[in-house]
Symmetry: C2
């Protein structure tokens, strides 16, 4: 299955490359890096990544949507939001990290679904769409094909949870051990759930 990672300028680096490290361990998954127009994308931590145009992506893969400063611009970019809606709607699964869930919420696809986001940006994310059932205290939330995580590092815990759901717990634990990661495997345990706004 294709893992289609949708990048944009000022995406948060670890939002992408934490989950990528885990998804890249799965033999059945092929990782691809896309953006709205293809070409060079620069992360918030100054890493330049080469991407292909999203129109060349398969439609029924796993779509990964990071967060970061770039979301504050894209939330008002209707051509991007419409593109995201099209691909997220058709994706087999859709994983967002941090404020990536704000972009997904804007598409309307999370309406009446449970979701979470970065705790310091939580009020902003919630303001984007009040029809989403926002869960503040969660490391990550799964609702149907949509997985949304809390801030940055929580994306790794969510992705291991996604692997557990698709395969089994032992496989997720093997991947965590291989990368010497201490998996916070309880999606309801959220040390950061009481943090305020930016």
């Amino acid at each position: 299955m294709d893992v289609n990672i949708l990048l944009f300028d000022n995406f948060e680096t670890l939002d992408v490359f934490g989950p990528v490290e885990i998804l890249g361990s799965v033999k059945e998954y092929d990782l691809h890096y896309y953006s709205q127009n293809g070409g060079e994308i620069v992360s918030a931590q100054n890493a330049t990544i080469l991407t292909k145009n999203i129109t060349s992506a398969s439609r029924d893969g796993i779509l990964v949507v990071p967060g970061g400063k770039g979301t504050r611009v894209l939330i008002n970019d209707l051509s991007f939001i419409n593109l995201l809606k099209e691909y997220a709607e058709q994706a087999r699964y859709c994983l967002s990290i941090c404020t990536g869930s704000a972009l997904l919420a804007k598409t309307g696809l999370l309406d009446c679904k449970k979701a979470t986001s970065n705790k310091k940006a939580f009020e902003w994310v919630r303001s984007i769409n009040s029809h989403v059932n926002w869960i503040r205290r969660a490391r990550w939330v799964a609702d149907g094909k949509f997985y949304t995580s809390s801030g940055v590092s929580a994306g790794m815990d969510m992705t291991l949870g996604f692997i557990k759901d698709r395969f089994n717990r032992q496989y997720a634990e093997e991947i965590a051990t291989h990368i010497e990661y201490i998996w916070n495997s309880d999606c309801t345990a959220d040390l950061f759930g009481q943090l305020g706004n930016y």
Copy 2:
């Protein structure tokens, strides 16, 4: 201060972008991505990163050396090892993640110093240079200007430890909280220290 990240083909993605997420939070640090010849570098998880030629890097910055499959080739590439030796010797600080310490050990710069590495590749790394004081049970090890971490995810804990040593514990904890990362702050606590070889 410049953070000079030395990439090579088949580097382990999270070895780089975990520490980058943390170092990128420090206002005093500027992140730069280099390689031996500049240009496109492809990680083990299929991410293509644009790099500059290492010869354009500042000499007295923080050098970051990842691990990954690519180290198995580079360990026998004397032109790379000599280049690494030159830059690591002149760097103000040198941080390696996972099997990046095998490359540093090969330069001789870790001789008589304490260091650690990935636990599943530990015997291989130790075989590279027996004059290093290899510490098996450690999340990371600091010896003078050299910081070496265990496998992949341990690089994040080490980098927060590096920030604690350069600034203070509160600052490291603030960065961890900002990225919702649960910092394993005890460098001697190593859940993975008993793992065998690949």
